[in-house]
């Protein structure tokens, strides 16, 4: 089915390990986003991408790396996981353009626990 999917949905890892969270959308949306959701902080933007091979930092980028070689995929990598990165991660996309702002569509989330 068309939409935005995330994998894995749940992940347990250990401090220091590398973890990659996957995001895939079938709408050919140009913009994609990664957020983390923590109690007391709401959703905070980690990284975003305006198109393939164009990425930029959000509010809390430290410790994360992204890439966007294809329009439909936007993986998020934690290079060396820390306990403070335990969170729920949401991917989102929008087909908005510079002069036409639109809603974002969210994936179901990945729950990450770093031990």
């Amino acid at each position: 089915d068309a939409g935005i999917t995330q994998s894995p949905r749940y992940k347990i890892t250990e401090t220091g390990r590398q973890v990659t969270l996957m995001c895939h959308q079938t709408w050919s949306h140009s913009y994609m986003f990664w957020y983390r959701q923590d109690l007391g902080h709401g959703l905070r933007l980690i990284y975003y991408s305006a198109a393939a091979d164009i990425t930029d930092k959000g509010e809390v980028p430290d410790g994360y790396v992204v890439s966007r070689s294809k329009t439909e995929n936007f993986p998020l990598t934690l290079e060396s996981a820390t306990r403070s990165q335990t969170s729920v991660y949401f991917c989102a996309s929008t087909g908005a353009r510079v002069l036409l702002r639109e809603a974002q569509y969210f994936g179901p989330g990945t729950r990450l626990l770093v031990l």
């Binding site: 986003f33 959703l43 949401f90 929008t94 702002r101 809603a103 974002q104 994936g107 179901p108």
Partner: protein
Amino acid sequence: SQQGEEDPQALSIQEGENATMNCSYKTSINNLQWYRQNSGRGLVHLILIRSNEREKHSGRLRVTLDTSKKSSSLLITASRAADTASYFCATDVEGGAQKLVFGQGTRLTINP
């Protein structure tokens, strides 16, 4: 600090009553959006109101925007148990690159 702040943080009402949530923000915006999040799920877009609009309706939802006060409200009329969720406002900041800044949300509970 958060661009959008919701009030109240939690709201509990009886089924059939109306629910009102408020959002305040700090900088100029392109638009303001409201999202719903059911427990353990992703966010679902409800409604978008542009900076040149003052009121918008969608089904049982009514959103107002007052750019002079930098505030918005979301009204859900005739609430149902299925409306139980967290509601977030998000601002599309003027000059920003399609980025949304979310508030911390209002937790709405509809009691049967």
